[in-house]
C-alpha cells in the first residue's frame, strides 16, 4: 500500500520533469533531487530504498532524455549507492550519506551556474543589446551580474513557442528593470541585425560542441551567424553530455498537441491534421562562438579537451546508467 504511494509519487515527478510543467533543465534536476531525498527518508529497508532511487532515476531520464545534467547527477548518486551497498552499509547510514551527496550536488550545481554566469557577464559590455530564447537560469544570472557591474543592457526575448516561456522571461526581465522587447519566434531574423549578442542556455552540450536547447535555438544561431552577431552559450560542465553524440539525436522529444492547438481547434482545421511539436533542437558548433562554463570560456570544438581535463580521461571512464541500475538491483535481491 505504502509502496504503491511512492511509486505513484515517482510517476508524478517524472511527468513534471518531462518537458512542460518545470521550465529549465536545472529546475527539473533540483525537483528530482528534492523528491529523491524524500523517498530515501521514507524507505523501510535497503531493498526498497534501492528500488525507489533506481526507479526514480530511470523514469526521470526516460521523461527527459536530453537533459545531460539529469543524467550526470543521477550517475553520481548511483555510483555512491553502489559503493555503499558493496560495503553492506546499513539503512540508517544510507539515509545519512545519500542526502549529504544530493545536497552537495545541488550546491555545486548552483555554484556552477553562478561561476559560469559570472564569467559570461565579462563578455557583456556596456550598451549591449542581447537576444535570447526561452527560460535559462544561467542566462538570467549572467544578466544579473552584468547589471551589478553597472552595465546598461537591453534584451530582446523570443516568445519561444511551444511553451511560450519568453512571455514569462519578459516579465522577469521587466521586474529587474531591464528594457525588454518581446517578439514572435518568426521575427528573429528581422531583429537579429539590431542586437549585439545572442545568449542562450543549454539542455546538453555534446562531445562535438553541438548544443541541445529549446527548439528555435538553432534557427536563432543561424540567423545570428548570417548577421555576424556573436552567439554565446552559458552552461556549467554538468550540462556536458558524456553519453552519446547528441548531434545525431534520433528521438527528438515532442510536446503534447495542446501546447500548440486549443482542444476545439483541431475540429475546425480538420480531423486528419497531424502535428509535430519538437521541444529541442541541435545547434551545430560552427554557429556558436563560445561556450561559457564554470571552468572558463571554450570554443565549442574544445569540449573534448575540457572533458578530459575534468574527468581525467577521454572518453571519460564512467559507467552507464542502465548498467549501474542493474548492478544495484542485483545486490539487493
Amino acid at each position: 500500500m505504502y509502496h504503491n504511494k511512492i511509486m505513484k509519487l515517482i510517476d508524478d515527478v517524472a511527468l513534471k520533469i518531462g518537458y512542460g510543467e518545470i521550465m529549465g533543465s536545472t529546475e527539473s534536476v533540483e525537483f528530482m533531487l528534492d523528491n529523491m531525498k524524500y523517498i530515501i527518508s521514507v524507505a523501510n529497508n535497503v531493498k526498497d530504498l534501492a528500488q525507489y532511487v533506481t526507479t526514480l532515476v530511470s523514469k526521470s531520464i526516460k521523461a527527459r532524455p536530453t537533459s545531460a545534467m539529469l543524467i550526470n547527477s543521477s550517475r553520481q548518486i548511483l555510483i555512491k549507492l553502489d559503493e555503499l551497498l558493496d560495503k553492506e552499509t546499513p539503512l540508517d547510514k544510507l539515509k545519512r550519506e545519500l542526502p549529504k551527496l544530493i545536497d552537495d550536488i545541488s550546491v555545486k550545481a548552483k555554484m556552477a551556474i553562478d561561476q559560469a554566469a559570472r564569467i559570461a557577464s565579462h563578455r557583456i559590455v556596456d550598451g549591449d543589446h542581447i537576444m535570447t530564447i526561452s527560460y535559462s537560469r544561467s542566462v538570467l544570472r549572467t544578466l544579473d551580474y552584468a547589471i551589478m557591474d553597472g552595465k546598461k543592457i537591453k534584451v530582446t526575448i523570443l516568445e519561444s513557442r511551444p511553451g511560450g516561456e519568453g512571455i514569462i522571461v519578459a516579465k522577469i526581465l521587466d521586474k529587474k528593470g531591464i528594457p525588454t522587447t518581446l517578439i514572435v519566434d518568426s521575427a528573429a531574423r528581422f531583429f537579429v541585425k539590431n542586437v549585439t549578442k545572442v545568449l542562450m542556455g543549454a539542455e546538453a552540450v555534446a562531445a562535438n560542441g553541438a548544443v541541445i536547447n529549446k527548439v528555435g535555438s538553432s534557427i536563432l544561431a543561424l540567423n545570428a551567424h548570417e548577421a555576424r552577431v556573436r552567439v554565446f552559450v552559458v552552461a556549467g560542465i554538468n550540462k556536458f553530455s558524456l553519453e552519446t553524440v547528441f548531434g545525431e539525436l534520433v528521438d527528438i522529444p515532442t510536446a503534447k498537441e495542446e501546447t500548440l492547438l486549443p482542444p476545439d481547434k483541431r475540429k475546425e482545421i480538420g480531423d486528419n491534421l497531424k502535428v509535430f511539436i519538437p521541444l529541442v533542437d541541435v545547434t551545430p558548433p560552427e554557429y556558436i562562438d563560445a561556450i561559457i562554463t564554470d571552468k572558463g570560456v571554450i570554443a565549442p570544438q574544445a569540449v573534448p579537451f575540457l572533458l578530459k581535463e575534468v574527468y581525467g580521461a577521454l572518453p571519460p571512464k564512467l559507467p552507464e546508467i542502465k548498467d549501474l541500475i542493474a548492478k544495484i538491483l542485483s545486490k539487493v535481491q
Binding site: 525588454t180 514572435v184 528555435g216 538553432s218 480538420g270 497531424k274
Partner: protein, 331 residues
C-alpha cells in the same frame, strides 16, 4: 475641381480594405478594381475633364487605404492607365467604357493568374515531395493543389504562423483537398528543414532587385532552406512586383498591433516591456531559387524584366513623381 460625390459602395470597399475586412494581396487588388468600375458606372456628369479629376480622386482614396500593399496601387494604376488617352476624348460614355473595360480586364486577369501560377508551379513539384509553406498564400496553395491533383503524392509542413495563426487556414484548405498536412511551430523550421524537399511561399511585394517581402518568418525559412540546400519557390502574381522600388523607394514594413502577440493585461502588469510586431520581413534574392508568376518562372534577379514589361508605364510615372519636373518631359 470635381464636386461629384463618391458612391457609397466605393466608400464601403475602401473602408473594408482599410480595416482588413478585405485581406490578401489578390483580393485587395480586385476589390480596388471593382471600386473603380463602380465609380465610373455611377458617374453622373457629362464633362470628360471633370471625369478624369473624379477618377483620380477615387484612385487616391483607394491607394491611401493600405499604404504598404503594392497590389493595390498596381491594380489602381492598371485600371487608370488610360486616363491620358481619355483626356483626348469628347464622349463621356466612351470614357467611362474605357475605365470599366480596364477594371473588368484586371479582375479577370487576376482570377486567372492564381490558377495559372498553380499550373506552372506544379511542374516544379515531383511525386513524393515534402513541401514546407508559411502563412496563407493562395498562390502557394494553388501550386501545391495543382501538383496533388496531377497525382503527385505530396506531404506538407505548414507553420502555425504567429501571431495570427494563418497556418491554420492553410492546413484546413489543404486537408479539404485530401493532402497530408503536418502543423509545426514557427520555431521548428530549421529542425524540420532536413525532412523537406521544397519550400513554397507566397509574396506580399517583390522589389526591383528580386527581394521578396512576405509574412514575417519567411526570410529565416529561406535562410534555413538555403543552409540545407532545399529549393525555395515564391509564387506571386505579377501585380505584386513594385514599380516604385525601381526608382529606389524602400518598401515600408507594416508594424501591427502588439495586442496580436499579448493581451492587454500583460501590458498593464509589465509596463517596461515593448512588444514589436512586424507583419513582414525581407528575403534577399540569393535565398530564392525562382519566382513563379502567371507569365512564367523567373530567377528573382530578373524581377526588373517583369517590372519593365508589365509596369513600364507606371515606372515612368514614378520617375515623374519624384525628381523630374513636368517641364523636363521632353527628355
Amino acid at each position: 475641381m470635381t464636386t461629384h460625390t463618391v458612391p457609397l459602395e466605393v466608400i464601403k470597399i475602401a473602408e473594408d480594405i482599410k480595416n482588413m475586412k478585405i485581406r490578401g494581396a489578390g483580393r485587395i487588388a480586385r476589390a480596388a478594381a471593382k471600386a473603380l468600375k463602380i465609380a465610373a458606372e455611377e458617374y453622373k456628369g457629362q464633362e470628360v475633364k471633370e471625369f478624369i479629376e473624379y477618377m483620380k480622386s477615387i484612385a487616391q482614396l483607394l491607394v491611401s487605404t493600405r499604404p504598404t500593399a503594392v497590389s493595390l496601387p498596381n491594380a489602381v494604376a492598371y485600371v487608370t492607365s488610360k486616363l491620358d488617352k481619355i483626356s483626348k476624348l469628347t464622349d463621356i460614355s466612351e470614357a467611362k467604357r474605357l475605365i470599366i473595360n480596364k477594371a473588368e480586364e484586371f479582375i479577370e486577369y487576376s482570377l486567372k493568374a492564381t490558377d495559372k501560377i498553380g499550373e506552372i508551379g506544379s511542374r516544379r513539384i515531383e511525386d513524393g515531395d515534402v513541401i514546407l509553406t508559411h502563412c496563407n498564400s493562395s498562390a502557394a496553395i494553388s501550386v501545391i493543389v495543382h501538383a496533388f491533383k496531377q497525382g503527385k503524392k505530396v506531404k506538407v509542413y505548414a507553420t502555425e504562423t504567429r501571431p495570427k495563426f494563418q497556418g491554420h487556414i492553410t492546413a484546413r484548405t489543404l486537408l479539404k483537398e485530401g493532402i497530408n498536412v503536418t502543423l509545426i511551430p514557427d520555431s521548428a523550421v530549421r529542425l524540420v528543414m532536413k525532412y523537406v524537399d521544397k519550400v513554397v511561399v507566397g509574396a506580399d511585394t517583390i522589389a526591383a532587385n528580386g527581394a521578396v517581402i512576405n509574412k514575417v518568418g519567411t526570410s529565416q525559412i529561406a535562410l534555413a532552406a538555403h543552409e540545407a540546400r532545399v529549393r525555395v519557390f515564391v509564387a506571386a502574381e505579377t501585380y505584386k512586383f513594385s514599380p516604385a522600388t525601381v526608382v529606389g523607394e524602400l518598401v515600408t514594413i507594416e508594424e501591427r498591433s502588439p495586442l496580436e502577440v499579448v493581451d492587454e493585461r500583460f501590458f498593464k502588469e509589465n509596463k517596461g516591456v515593448t512588444v514589436r510586431n512586424p507583419a513582414f520581413d525581407v528575403t534577399p534574392p540569393e535565398y530564392i531559387d525562382a519566382i513563379i508568376t502567371e507569365i512564367g518562372v523567373i530567377p528573382p534577379q530578373a524581377a526588373i524584366l517583369i517590372l519593365k514589361d508589365m509596369f513600364g508605364w507606371a515606372i515612368k510615372d514614378y520617375y515623374h513623381y519624384i525628381t523630374i519636373g513636368s517641364e523636363m518631359e521632353e527628355y
